[in-house]
Each structure stands twice: as C-alpha cells, then as structure tokens.
Symmetry: C3
Subunit: 112 residues, 3 copies
C-alpha cells in the first residue's frame, strides 16, 4: 500500500480530483501554503495499492504538472493609450501548473 501526497496549484485542483475520481481514486484535500509552489496551494492525499501508484501519478502529472497553455490577456486595453472602443484580448503562451509528488509506504489502510 502507498500514500501519494501531491502539492498542486489550486487552479488545477478541480480537474485533477475529477480525473482521479473517474479512475476510482479517493482523494482527500487540504489547503496548504508555501513550499515548492509559492502562495496558496492544495495538497491531495490518495491511499492506493502499489500497482496503481503510477496511474495516479500520471493523472496528477497530466492535470497539475508544468505545461504550456494559451491565456488571453486584455490588460493592454486597460493600461494602453487612447481608448479605441475595441476589446482585443492578446493570446499569450504561458507556463502553468507545477506539482510535487511524494510517495510513502503505508502499513495498513482500514475502512470502518
């Protein structure tokens, strides 16, 4: 048995937990701060059999790992010069996500 503890961005919590639940992993969530990720983040804990650890780790990596994403920035419209009346969001490729995953041995899991 293993305990997987992952510290993920709060923005990635919903997708990560939904995907883990779809694969029948029970997830317990804590609100945490600091660490490898600065600021508020979410720590998720999953107890599972050894042979399912890699599946859980893959789901977490896909949903919460560092990755490129397109964000639409329209801050230029607020700070720019003369107002044109046109709201033109600018697509930007940014890096999002990032997670740390710890894997612990567990002696026993019981449900009562």
């Amino acid at each position: 048995m293993k305990m997987i503890m992952a510290i993920i961005h709060h923005e990635d919590e919903m997708d990560t937990v939904r995907c883990l639940n779809e694969q029948n992993f029970f997830v317990t969530k804590l609100s945490t701060t600091g660490g490898f990720l600065k600021g508020k983040n979410t720590t998720i804990m999953i107890g599972t059999e050894d042979e399912r650890v890699d599946d859980a780790v893959n789901v977490i990596r896909e949903n919460a790992g560092k990755r490129r994403a397109i964000r639409y920035d329209n801050s230029g419209n607020l700070t720019g010069g003369s107002y044109t009346g046109i709201n033109m969001p600018v697509p930007l490729e940014v890096e999002v996500g990032g997670c740390t995953i710890f894997e612990f041995p567990i002696d026993r899991i019981e449900k009562f």
Copy 2:
C-alpha cells in the same frame, strides 16, 4: 513508531479526540474535504509506539466508524398537510459515521 492518520466525520471529531486524549494519545487535527467521506471532514494524526496502534484504532472505530443511531426527524411537521399544532419528532434508525484509517511507519519522533 507509527503514525496513524484517520479521516473521520466532523460530527465525530469531539468524541473521538476526547476518548483518544483520555487514553493519552496526542491528536493533531486538520480540516480536510472530499475523499472516501464526501464533503467536509476532519483528519486526525497520532504518533505512537507500535504496541499502542490497535488501542488507538479501536477508539477511532468505536467513535467514528459506521454505526446505527437513532435520529429524531421532525421535518414532517414542516412539510406535511394541515398543521395540527403538535410537534411530533419521528425516531429514525440511520447510519452515521464512517472513517478511513492509514497506518504509516515512522523512523523517529522528537519533542523539543
């Protein structure tokens, strides 16, 4: 040395922690959500010697495990037909509680 981590219903937190304290277990509590128990729950952590693990697990099971309980329901008085002026709570046997207990090996516990 072992760490016992138990996810219990928040309703069972007070009794569980009081009984653990009575048996000289120190309990650290976290607010958690989700997992095997849906919604808000409480995670308690106890560090203890190997030979006392079963005592702690028994206390948690008795106070936070699934069990039958009588609840008095008077919602019928609010939603029912003509109001009789009588408040008659109906006893219902319901299932309450439910907990997941993880047991981890610990290399060392120190108090400074």
Copy 3:
C-alpha cells in the same frame, strides 16, 4: 528520502520557515489544531535527502523548540490597585515554543 513533519507554535512559524528557506528547504504549511501543543498551531512538511534531515531538524529545534525568553508584562497596570499614571512593563522570563517532529521514510519525490 525523508519527509519531516513538524508541529510548531504559530508564533514560531515565520522564523522557522525563513531559516529553512535560507538553507534551501522547501516548506509546505498546514493550519492544524490540538495535539502536543494545545490550540492553533502550524504543521510544516519538508521532503529531503537522508543526509540533510539533521540540518532541518536543527533549524526547527532552534526556532521552534522550547526555550526561555523575556516578555514584558504590563497587565499589572490594568489590574493593580490605585492608578499611578505610570506604565511600567515588568520583564518576565517565560518559556516559549515547543515542537514535535516526525520523520517518515519516503519512497519517491517527483517534481513535474
């Protein structure tokens, strides 16, 4: 690899975390209650190589362990007899701090 989990006084959180960061330990923080320390406290978690465990433990002990400190008490001015118009804080040597440190084996730490 080891996980160090330390339950410290919230008053000692800032210094402890700053000193750990200065020594390149990443710290994840949780708000916890109860346990060996009564009331609100902070649980910090650090994943590290075996050979750095003692360094982390020393930093935590120095910043969050039990120690003597001088506190200035002027409650006497509020509860004493006739008011003299003089605010005279009294230096008192008090015991502050106190922490519990758990060290767990970890199978794996990954950053994605």
